[in-house]
Amino acid sequence: MENSNDTIKTIVITGATSGIGLAAAKELAMKGAYVIGTGRSEERCRYAEQEVKSVCPDANITYLAADLSSLSEVRRLASDIRETLAKDGFSQLDVLINNAGTVSSWYISTVDGFELQFAVNHLAPFLLTNELLPLLGRSRAGTVICTSSGSHYRTRLRWNDIMLRKHYNTLLAYKQTKLANVLFVTELNRRLAASGSNIKAFALDPGLVDTDIGFKGTSGIAKLVWKFRSKGGTSPEVPAHSMAYLALDPEPRSTGKVYWKDCRPKEPSRYSQKPDVAKKLWELSERMCGIIGHKSSQEQKQTAV
């Protein structure tokens, strides 16, 4: 579809009310992109919108609130994104940045019965991406970016208890979800290439960044450790710049590299590139998100009142 909006990049950033997401929203808005940011609370969304507009008064930015720990909220967000884009005259989504992430000191289960970090850090990006693939397919250069982390190195998926229900450990759970991000991006690229799509997916390693992620749902000791550790990190603008580079620059698309840090490709962990692991995780995630019409879910609907 040819219209005046055709040259403007449309970009969705989840978790764009603080940290890397907010910094990236500012940079992308300043570069003239049409940005939809998401956040958990209306209030924080309003605040972030003002923040972006304070550095970029004519920013083309909208915020949508959604709690990404709930699959039905992720689906609702996807449909809100479709509506918002359509309302503003766009028929395509150019870039989806799955940036929202969380940490939890305790095993918390979501409304859908999943472990909180697993749901927010892995399942939400998985489902949101799948929901928005048709819109991304209409872009000339559809791009998916997931904020992963160097913590994906030196870990593996615990298949017998993937959500660590029985032996929960905050850092282990976090590392696993960041590994899942790389596996997801790798498998997504494989599937997209196989279907002849020109959408490309990247995992971004932000490095150690001074954000408040370590204060989300953690207890005193973890907060204290993060308080000191994060001070040694870079400011959120540094990874946000890499994010904007992956989103806007045609260069990374031609390299075939999936894992990026500081605007340069980097080797992800060997485990994250195992095709069988990535495929198994993909299929499990599909079942968890109810993407495949599961037989028993149909039966369950009949027996339910």
Binding site: S70, L71, S72, S105, W106, Y107, I108, S109, V111, D112, G113, F114, E115, M163, L164, R165, K166, H167, Y168, G217, S219, G220, R287, M288, C289, G290, H294, K295, S296, S297, E299, Q300, K301, T303, A304, V305
Partner: protein
């Protein structure tokens, strides 16, 4: 035939953990709780993830009419169960004299009346050829008289004694009854706040809810009568049993009063803590 598990309070923190645990073991589920929308969400997700059958019925267990509706629903569908997990329960923390008559009634109805009635009802619907297992969620609070949580700890003591006695009564009829007596568990932001208000003592007596659910099912399958999750909690319980109740009540009272005050100061709320 596959095992079918009946869980009350299924969308709360511990109930959900039990539902996930049983689903991961391949059991079919029947879930009840007060919110139909929450039950629908959880049921769909568990059926999708674990490939099991899940049915649900929303019911206000504090209401006799609502409970009758639940029994009618089960009977009309000829459902049979071989596992009952009574999780639903609540607490109105704070000085007893300041509780409202409505709060008092609600707690007795949910923590005691509903549990007894449901257990009675489901025992009638068991398959006598199969072992029937019951888990009642009591509390570590059942072992001590607890000021500020007087009604709660007494109601949990009721469930502990009832479970032990019922287990003995039905031993020859292939029924096992397990009382789960956990310390506080971090299931909701309120619970986490309550645990953190207790400081270090709260944190080290706390077990993750997924672990508790998994171990409790193991214990029930072994026919254990009482299960206290966490080694430290078992030590506390053992130490508590050799100290006179009056001294324990005094000690617990001062600790809880302090923690309660800290929480109230922080928030000014009086929310339930289960």
């Amino acid at each position: 035939m596959k095992s079918r598990v009946f869980i009350t309070g299924a969308t709360g923190g511990l109930g959900k953990a039990f539902a996930v645990e049983c689903a991961s073991r391949g059991s079919d589920l029947f879930l009840t709780d007060i919110s139909d929308a929450s039950l629908a969400k959880l049921s769909e997700s568990l059926a999708n993830t674990y490939g099991i059958k899940v049915s649900f019925y929303s019911c206000d267990l504090t209401d006799a009419g609502s409970r009758a509706g639940l029994y009618g629903h089960i009977r009309s569908r000829c459902l049979m169960f071989d596992f009952l997990i009574n999780v639903a329960g609540l607490d109105f923390e704070g000085a007893f004299a300041e509780r409202t008559p409505d709060q008092i009634r609600t707690m007795v109805r949910l923590n005691i009346e509903a549990n007894l009635e449901l257990t009675h009802e489901l025992l009638k619907l068991r398959d006598p050829a199969r072992t029937f297992r019951i888990i009642n969620v009591s509390s570590l609070a059942a072992f001590y008289p607890m000021p500020v949580k007087a009604m709660y700890s007494a109601s949990k003591r009721f469930l502990l004694n009832f479970s032990r006695a019922l287990g003995e009564e039905l031993r020859s009829r292939n029924v096992t009854v397990t009382a789960l007596c956990p310390a506080g568990m971090p299931t909701t932001p309120e619970c986490i706040e309550a645990i953190e208000a207790q400081g270090l003592a709260g944190r080290i007596t706390t077990c993750n809810v997924g672990y508790v659910a998994s171990k409790t099912i193991d214990m029930a399958l072994r026919g254990k009568q009482v299960y206290i999750p966490g080694l430290l909690n078992r030590i506390l319980r053992a130490a508590g049993s050799v100290v006179p109740d009056s001294i324990i009540a005094r000690a617990v009272g001062s600790r809880w009063n302090a923690a309660h005050t800290r929480r109230m100061r922080r928030h000014g709320t009086n929310k339930a803590y289960t």
